[in-house]
Symmetry: C2
Subunit: 104 residues, 2 copies
């Protein structure tokens, strides 16, 4: 754990899952790898599969037919739209914050 992460609720697993699915369908373990590459923090199974379940319940992602022992998921249209909105907001906040830090 480092930085603001100790405060909890900063890793935003759900959003990272959506980002992970943005370049194609993946199953859980592959998402973990992708997220680890993106953020240097590998979410544990409790975090990951909990968030996946909630995202599916909300209709942001949907499961594809299971193959092998893998349950792949992909973004729904709703999920894609929500992700775009959220990422734009995120980028705005990040830019604003960094600008403020630079000026001050």
């Amino acid at each position: 754990m480092s930085g603001l992460s100790q405060l909890g609720r900063f890793s935003e697993p759900a959003l990272l899952i959506l980002v992970s699915l943005a370049d194609g369908a993946k199953h859980g373990y592959a998402m973990q790898d992708d997220i680890a590459a993106l953020t240097d923090e590998r979410p544990g199974p409790g975090t990951l599969y909990g968030a996946i379940r909630r995202l599916e319940e909300h209709g942001y992602i949907e499961s594809l037919p299971e193959q092998d022992r893998r349950k792949p998921y992909r973004l729904t249209d709703i999920g894609r739209a929500a992700l775009q909105t959220e990422l734009q907001r995120m980028r705005t906040v990040a830019s604003t914050g960094l600008r403020r830090l630079a000026v001050a």
Copy 2:
């Protein structure tokens, strides 16, 4: 409530407070205004003052002498550094996600 916010834990009050303080010391109510302008979501007092307390406990912000009925806070050096790190990570994730959405 709109978009991913219904999933909870997406508004990240603590980070928004830090961004809010990045352009100068503010008291709680002023942070609410600033955050509302930034995100179109005004955090309620439970959210705001809870997050402020935790940030102070962790040494990311510190309180200035109370004046009138206002308790102003400002970023500490630690808070400033943590915020910068976090915002950079955030911008990277946002950019990556948006790029992926554009390609797909």
